[in-house]
């Protein structure tokens, strides 16, 4: 729409005015484009920026009070209110986002798009504007990360409004085992993650059947999918604490799975994500009805992914130029696929690492330095 307006203005100016009006016209066009891009930049900000913020410690909030919450540019209006109400939680939301991004980078380390952070405010960049599989994964893993971090913080006693898990004793637990200990407070973490992460989506209203409405529903679903996977993977953990390490006394509690497992499961969901479209009544339905309908733990996407081969500022793709690749692999990390057929350069690199380490009493470790020449392949 903005583009159309610019084109019309341009046409009018050129037909109606002479040469002397050109500087004003150019200035107007420049201003228009700047405003356009500024709007995009503002809109692209995200609560994920909390992961990049080193100031998220409770003491800062005590000193600064409420203004600091309002200064966090990545937060939506509702999220800022939650920030004011739950200042001590912000550190763990940041940690949760950071965990999510790190796990994303691990899971996509061999992909063309490898979940690189672009800058501290937009974090993953304009790629997240595309309603793609990658966006679906990123939203799910971030919501999961917050749930994980807050649940753990409750158990550690770091948050005043929550404590140990109050999950009831499982029925299949042997009778002579104790149910107690301090479990991860999954219930609280789940509710808080939903309130905070989904606040951004819920406070906006779009017209029924619009593209924005579809994207909103996609995000809400994928956030929830991430949380449900964390919830499903939580399990009973037990510890023997009888005399001399025996299992004569055993205590069990609810424990979250390691976040790597969450990432692994979500990656499988990413690989089998369901393509959706908006139907006439404003609901998301499958693009191809022959597949079985997606469950609450499945990821949804609306748009096909770009190929991520070439740097493209409009799509946010960074391209694969300069990426390391594996010459002998036929997978995504292989040079043929990673470099998109453009070819690769070969380099010799010296790899230096510690070797022959020995522990000395008491107490230090002494290692030798080993260096070797390795071949490295870089996409052209």
């Amino acid at each position: 729409m903005v583009f159309l307006q610019v084109m019309m203005l341009l046409k009018l100016k050129w037909t109606s005015s002479g040469v002397k009006d050109t500087p004003h016209t150019l200035l107007f066009i420049i201003i228009t484009f700047c405003v356009f891009f500024m709007l995009e930049i503002v809109d692209a900000n995200s609560w994920w920026s909390l992961a990049m913020n080193p100031l998220l410690i409770p003491e800062v909030y005590v000193i600064g009070g409420q203004p600091l919450c309002s200064q966090l540019s990545g937060l939506s209006k509702g999220q800022k209110k939650l920030c004011q109400l739950y200042q001590d939680h912000m550190q763990y939301i940041g940690e949760g986002a950071k965990t999510g991004i790190r796990e994303c980078q691990h899971q996509f380390r061999h992909h063309r798009w490898n979940c690189s952070t672009v800058d501290n405010s937009t974090v993953l960049g304009r790629v997240m504007h595309i309603g793609s599989r990658e966006s679906a994964f990123a939203f799910a893993i971030s919501a999961a990360g917050v749930l994980h971090a807050v649940s753990r913080a409750c158990r550690e006693g770091a948050l005043s409004s929550c404590g140990c898990s109050r999950a009831s004793r499982p029925k299949d637990l042997p009778r002579d085992w104790l149910w107690g200990g301090c479990g991860d407070n999954l219930n609280y973490g789940y509710r808080f993650s939903r309130e905070f992460v989904d606040a951004r989506e819920r406070e906006k209203t779009f017209s029924k059947g619009s593209a924005e409405s579809a994207r909103q529903m996609m995000n809400l679903h994928n956030n929830e999918a991430g949380r449900r996977i964390v919830s499903d993977l939580a399990d009973v953990s037990c510890k023997c604490h009888g005399v001399s390490g025996s299992c004569s006394l055993k205590t069990c509690w609810l424990q979250l799975a390691d976040f790597r497992k969450v990432g692994d499961v979500l990656k499988e969901k990413y690989d089998s994500a369901a393509a959706m479209r908006m139907n006439g009544r404003g609901k998301l339905v499958q693009m191809h009805s022959k597949f079985s309908p997606p469950s609450g733990q499945d990821l949804l996407y609306l748009q096909p992914s770009p190929d991520y081969c070439i740097r493209n500022s409009s799509s946010g793709s960074l391209g694969t130029q300069g990426r390391l690749c594996n010459k002998t692999s036929e997978g995504m990390d292989g040079c043929a696929l990673m470099c998109c057929g453009r070819g690769y350069d070969q380099y010799k690199a010296e790899l230096v690492e510690r070797c022959h380490c020995k522990f000395h009493w008491c107490c230090y470790v002494r290692c030798k330095r080993c260096s070797s020449i390795v071949d490295q392949y870089v996409c052209k």
Binding site: T99, R102, E103, H106, H148, L178, G180, G181, C182, K239, C240, H241, G242, V243, S244, G245, S246, C247, L249, T251, D258, F259, R260, E353, R354, C355, H356, C357, K358, F359, W361, C362, C363, V365, C370, S372
Partner: protein
């Protein structure tokens, strides 16, 4: 033919080398997980298992997944009596390398050889008290390379002296700390005299006199107390001067394993001994580490 074989051999060697070096890159640093890294804390003075071990700071959580210092102390407490037995010079080092591991950039586990020496020296004594060698100290899982903890001066096993070793439950110092540790590690304790001692297979069967006073009831029931018979596990042939003297009154400790009551400690009830008197007085106010409290 030979040249072809040697060529393929070299290829195998060349292929193996990168794998070895790749494996090494994962050796260092904490494993790739999202948990909070352990903290360096001072070894507290009341973690008696590890006093004088040779270093002063430890990692928390430790290598046995104990997350709080209260948990470490409670679990380490039951191992202190084993330390008193001096069954192997490396006992404290093995236990403390796990209960109170040294503060390093990455965890340093005890060497398998250290573990095996302690296990071979100490498991017969633990068996005498009815304890198997625990799963947490399974030696197979410990490393065999140079990145592990061994005894600083690794001497060969000391030559056995001419005398057979004293029965473990009878080999006790008359010292307050030792008695209290044993009291906590035992389930019950009574004051009584010995009526009869008889051999039974590999054990010695100890029948007590009817007159008894309970010092610590524990899991013992009143009806069981009347006809209580204790077994000196694997104690058919080892010397035990206390059992030879049926005229004395004894402080006897024990615990129940399956359907047998095992003797875990026996001290002469010697009121003329200052240390013993002090111990009995201290016993009234002494509290053993309570397991339930650790997990509240």
């Amino acid at each position: 033919m030979k040249s072809l074989a040697s060529l393929s051999l070299w290829r195998i060697i060349i292929l193996i080398l990168p794998l070895v070096s790749l494996g090494q890159t994962f050796e260092y640093g904490w494993p790739d997980n999202y948990d909070k890294p352990p903290q360096c804390v001072d070894i507290p003075v009341d973690l008696r298992l590890c006093q004088g071990v040779g270093y002063h700071q430890m990692l928390l959580p430790n290598l046995l997944e104990h997350e709080s210092m209260a948990e470490v102390k409670q679990q380490a407490g039951s191992w202190v009596p084993l330390l008193h037995k001096n069954c192997d010079p490396g006992t404290q080092l093995l236990l403390c390398s796990l209960f109170a591991p040294v503060c390093m950039e990455r965890p340093i586990y005890p060497c398998r050889r250290l573990c095996e020496n302690v296990r071979d020296g100490c498991s017969p004594i633990m068996a005498a008290f009815g304890f198997p060698w625990p799963h947490i100290l399974t030696c197979d899982k410990f490393p065999q390379d140079d990145m592990c903890i061994n005894t600083p001066n690794d001497t060969s096993t000391s030559e056995p002296n001419g005398h057979p070793p004293v029965c473990p439950p009878c080999d006790n110092e008359m010292k307050m700390d030792v008695i209290l540790d044993h009291m906590c590690a035992s389930e019950f304790a009574i004051k009584t005299k010995i009526q009869e001692v008889k051999r039974e297979n590999m054990d010695r069967k100890v029948t007590l006199q009817k007159k008894k006073r309970t010092i610590k009831m524990g899991t013992l029931k009143k009806k069981d107390l009347k006809k209580l018979t204790l077994y000196l596990k694997n104690g058919a042939d080892c010397p035990c001067t206390q059992l030879d003297n049926t005229r004395n009154t004894y402080l006897i400790m024990g615990r129940k394993v399956d359907k047998q009551y095992l003797l875990t400690g026996i001290h002469k009830w010697d009121k003329s001994n200052r240390e013993f008197k002090k111990t009995m007085k201290k016993l009234k106010s002494h509290k053993c580490p309570a397991y339930e409290n650790v997990f509240k």
